[in-house]
Amino acid sequence: MTIGISTYLIYLAISVALTIWVARTLHKNGRVFLVDVFHGNDALADSVNHLLVVGFYLINFGYVTLALKLGYAVTSAEQSIEALSVKVGMVLLVLGGMHFFNLFIFSRMRRRSVQHNQPPPIAPDAFTAVRQEA
């Protein structure tokens, strides 16, 4: 096995492991948020949670796959480590970006659901008698 092939394989191993770790963290800790958003409807929360994680995997594995190519020959261990640092660094940044985007979605969903039960923003000017519908 040449050093170039090993570099690619190490890159794939690290990227895939990182993606799985982040996705699992998101899956495990996002559930609480979603259950709250959907007012304790566990089935719906689990479903949305799962769908979000699938999207997360698709985008990240897509990026990892597209970014695989180095474009130059790696001949020494030194070059290999340098190449890995750039590639894995990019994967980490993309994962970080995706992660915060997911958090943003969670918090927005939660804010919306909390607002549904909030009182009017202003007090009425007066009160009047209401004749009930016949």
Partner: protein, 124 residues
Amino acid sequence: MFSLTVLYDPECGLCRRAHEWLAEQSKIVELNFVPCASDEARRRYPQLNHDLTKQDLTVVGDDGGVYFGPKAWLMVLWSLVRYRDWAYRLASPELLPTTKRVVSMISQNRYQIGRVTGLNRLTR
């Protein structure tokens, strides 16, 4: 609160257009539209000053709370799924004076706005 009654001015094109737009929006709180100072309005709210409701938009909650002018607009926004956060934002102490000024200006000039934009003729 589960429903709001909107006492709107049936003579104004802008209000009718707003009414159509509101009918399409998804709501958290149900909106009932009743022309202001109509028999129906007087039947529902026998103690309300109906001459006043002709001057500006009035919203009455199912608890009898009366919201007049800019407050009525905010309550209508508050009833909509997509605009509830805007209602809170516009009702915040920093923005409320501006909200009131802008809404009053639109409200007082609603016939002119309707005429300029052709809305008065459109639905007649």
